[in-house]
């Protein structure tokens, strides 16, 4: 017993002070559409169809990249002959609709087959701010600073579960944000669902959803949960993304999303953070939480300086 206590004192606090805005070696790919020649090298290298190049009307071409289906394999980065696809370093991406996770550009193609960038396309559906206000209206502040989460694996490979479980480890310690994982959907404010939803889990997911009390928030996690990912949509075994079965409020892409990205997505669902669906797109966010390494003011309630520095983890 003495050894246990002494050991714990020696270890000190391992919980990370700043769990957000980390910059790993790479997050999601970023296409510099203005320099893109709309060839389809990246699209054919992409194993999930996250990048698509399509010819529309004669003389026109579109290239689109959807983070919802991206498994962060970086094949597009190596495939691009023009080196306009780069591995972005940000990964705390979340959105309210699948469309918000898609970025596409239109190109004009001349007679010689050369494509020139015309404009970024506007995605259909509501923007981030509008979706966020709709979600706020629906939950009416009832989630406050306490969120009870029921995790549902509706078909995942277990990668997302490992990262969701990692958010509860002593280093992340999700509970300090008032977020608890509960054992029953009846205790849950939010369902954290991984996919692809399989044929054999479709009914179980629907029943779990129905068992959760209103207002219930659904968060889809991972490339497969957002879009069916590698397993596709509408096969004999895979229904596809979570939104094929129940309405989804927040999408957290990634394969698997890092624990930080999951935490970020949950904070978006609680209305504490603003959704950020584009790592370095043309629009700059004004959200203080998103500005570089500044201390996240809205989170300072939860964050205390560590008792003892235990070195970089």
């Amino acid at each position: 017993m003495f050894r246990i206590i002494a050991g714990s004192l020696k270890t000190g606090r391992v919980t990370e002070a700043h769990p957000l805005s980390r910059r790993p070696a790479f997050g999601f790919p970023v296409i510099d559409f203005t320099r893109c020649t709309a060839c389809d090298e990246c699209a054919s290298a992409c194993p999930t169809g996250a990048i698509r190049a399509a010819s529309g009307a004669p003389g026109q071409r579109t290239v689109s990249l959807s983070y919802g289906a991206c498994i962060q394999c970086r094949e597009c980065v190596t495939a691009c002959p023009e080196q306009v696809v780069s591995a972005g370093r940000e990964f705390e991406i979340a959105a309210h609709t699948r469309e918000q996770l898609t970025h596409s550009a239109s190109f004009d193609v001349d007679d010689a087959g050369r494509a020139t960038f015309v404009r970024m396309d506007v995605q259909p559906g509501p923007g981030v701010a509008e979706s966020a206000s709709r979600l706020r209206d629906r939950i009416q502040g009832r989630l406050g600073r306490s969120l009870h989460v029921r995790q549902v694996d509706a078909g995942s490979c277990n990668g997302c579960e490992l990262e969701i479980a990692a958010t509860t480890n002593p280093v992340f310690d999700l509970e300090r944000f008032g977020i608890h994982f509960v054992a029953s959907p009846r205790h849950a404010d939010l369902l954290l669902v991984t996919g692809p939803v399989t044929r054999n889990m479709e009914i179980a997911l629907r029943r779990t959803y129905e068992a959760a009390p209103e207002p219930r928030v659904v968060v889809a996690v991972g490339a497969c949960g957002c879009s069916g990912g590698l397993f596709g949509e509408g096969t004999y075994a895979s229904v596809g993304g979570v939104d094929r079965v129940v309405e989804v409020d927040v999408y957290i892409p990634g394969c698997p999303p890092r624990p930080h990205a999951i935490l970020n997505g949950l904070l978006v669902a609680m209305g504490i953070r603003e959704a950020r669906q584009n790592p370095s797109g043309p629009t700059r966010h004004t959200d203080p939480l998103l500005s570089g390494d500044a201390r996240p003011e809205a989170l300072s309630f939860f964050l205390r300086p560590p008792v003892k520095a235990t070195g970089e983890i």
Partner: protein, 527 residues
């Protein structure tokens, strides 16, 4: 004639020309369906063969028949034996070996579910993969199955669980949605008060049609699907897939890549074993070691992220090599991290086994007897904890394993503690393997060039001893060199029946810790 082939022929009583040397470490024999049962008997008795996989292929387009394949591991010969038999589509049946070799039980039922080929004289020919609402007469892995969307649901409860009757005897249904952050599956306990009388499993809730999906993907993209077979075994499965493709196309992986693959596979072993040891502590409510193990794992996966880009080591294995190099500084960082971790890990294990309240919960809990483990064909950690001395790293070495010094830890108890101790001792071996490899990383290329196309109409096995046990892939190509069949065998598929065997006789509250000590993959099993 190779000596391996001669030994196989002599022990199986086969004529020379019937056994083919397919490629190093892989021989093939093609008996008639009538000889299948007797041959299986001889493989086990004379060659100590262990069933590694059993599957079917739909070759009606090329040869006009289905084919059934038994894959046996022959550890003494460092060889796999593939036994191929044709099955006439007009009489879609094959002789079952499950009565004598229970390891074949689920495999044969899976062939029945996905190919519509019936195992004759199977002791329990019920669906294993198909759920009750799957319609009759639809076989997903047949080539003419129209995989074009949702298959209609058929109402009815056609495969009821075995009932329990008697005073104070009842059933406890658990799942598919479990209480923790884990994968879905259904457990049906028959209990008399606290003690479990028996446990029935209904799995395949996360069946994603992975094997069918491979057939639709370009072979280069198959690697990513392999990484997603079981999220905790990204390296194990992607290596098995890569090995199969490399063997198929004769690609020789450069020495540096072979060494780095060992690094990746051992890191995956360590981070999973450490997490499991912590989870076993969690399930007996011993919080301090649980937190320490979780912290240790988190630190390691963060180091993995900074060295290889991804926490869970996805996107690290390439076809023909590895994707990420390790710099001398990186190797040094990894080594000093491991040196520190060794001390911490040693403390963790001491803390656990010195605690009477802990050992009280894990000793003689969830015993899987060596005999049962052998009969059921249990593999990996669970097998080694039940006195079965098998490890593909030693018995079928790949990559740089041939030249490494390591032991295969074997425990005799077959209980939770034995599985815990196998993990603990394996982690120690992995530390030593990693030091050996990182000390002398060979120079050279990271990837070998790949051919434009795969050889048409051929097949190959690929394998890796993942942290949970052997991952085995069999890949076949069609006349155009595309993937015509990828059979994935995850160790969990062989081990789930072992869990069902280890639980009866224990009390319900011990189930979580027994389950955790096996820590089987649902996704790997269901695919």
């Amino acid at each position: 004639m190779s000596s391996v082939r001669a030994t196989v022929c002599a022990n199986l009583g086969l004529a020379d020309e019937t056994v083919q040397d397919v490629r190093p470490g892989e021989v093939e024999v093609e008996p008639g369906p009538g000889e299948l049962v007797a041959l299986a008997e001889r493989v086990v008795k004379n060659l100590d063969g262990r069933l590694a996989s059993l599957f079917a292929t739909d070759e009606r387009a090329s040869t006009g028949t289905f084919a059934l394949h038994h894959v046996w591991s022959l550890p003494g010969l460092k060889t796999f034996l593939r036994v191929r038999t044709t099955v006439d589509p007009a009489r879609p049946q094959f002789p079952s070996i499950a009565g004598r070799h229970p390891a074949a039980n689920w495999f044969e039922r899976e062939v029945m579910d996905f190919f519509g080929l019936d195992p004759l004289h199977h002791p329990n020919p019920k669906p294993v993969a198909l759920h009750d609402d799957w319609p009759e007469g639809q076989w997903a892995l047949r080539k003419d199955f129209p995989d074009g969307g949702a298959v209609p649901r058929e109402p009815g409860d056609r495969h009821p669980f075995r009932p329990v009757t008697g005073e104070g005897v009842f059933q406890i249904p658990v799942g598919p949605v479990h209480a923790g952050i884990i994968e879905p599956g259904h457990f049906r306990f028959g209990v008399a008060g606290e003690p479990v009388l028996y446990l029935q499993l209904r799995l395949f809730y996360v069946h994603k049609g992975t094997e069918k999906r491979f057939e639709r993907l370009p072979w280069r993209h198959g690697l990513f699907l392999a990484e997603s077979i079981s999220g905790d075994t990204a390296v194990g499965h992607s290596l098995a897939y890569a090995h199969a493709l490399e063997r198929l196309s004769g690609v020789v992986v450069p020495a540096r890549a072979r060494a780095l693959r060992v690094v990746l596979l051992e890191l995956e072993r360590i981070y999973n074993h450490v997490a499991d040891i912590g989870a076993i502590a969690t399930d007996v409510a011993f919080v301090v070691p649980a937190s320490r193990a979780q912290t240790m794992r988190e630190r390691l996966v963060r180091l993995q992220e900074s060295l290889f880009g991804m926490r869970l080591l996805r996107g690290t294995v390439a076809l023909g090599g590895v994707k990420t190099d390790v710099s001398p500084q990186g190797a040094q960082r990894l080594r000093s991290h491991l040196t520190e971790m060794e001390v911490e890990f040693d403390d963790l294990i001491t803390l656990l086994i010195d605690s009477g309240t802990f050992t009280d919960r894990v000793d003689a809990t969830g015993i899987l007897s060596p005999q049962a483990a052998r009969d059921l064909g249990v593999v990996g950690v669970a097998a080694r904890a039940s006195a079965i001395d098998a490890d593909f790293r030693r018995d079928h070495p790949t990559d740089a394993y041939e030249g490494l010094r390591f032991e295969v830890p074997v425990e005799k108890g077959g209980d939770v503690r034995a599985r815990l101790m196998v993990r603990a001792r394996e982690v120690e071996q992995s530390f030593s393997i990693l030091h050996q490899v990182l000390e002398a990383l060979p120079d050279g290329a990271l990837v070998a060039p790949l051919p434009e196309r795969l050889p048409p109409s051929s097949s190959a096995l690929g394998w890796a001893e993942g942290w949970r046990g052997p991952c085995l892939h069999w890949i076949a190509t069609d006349a155009q060199g595309g993937l015509s069949r990828v059979k994935v065998t995850d160790p969990s598929f062989l081990n789930w029946p072992g869990l069902a065997h280890a639980v009866p006789g224990n009390i319900v509250p011990d189930f979580p810790v027994i389950n955790k000590s096996f820590n089987l993959s649902y996704s790997g099993n269901d695919r």
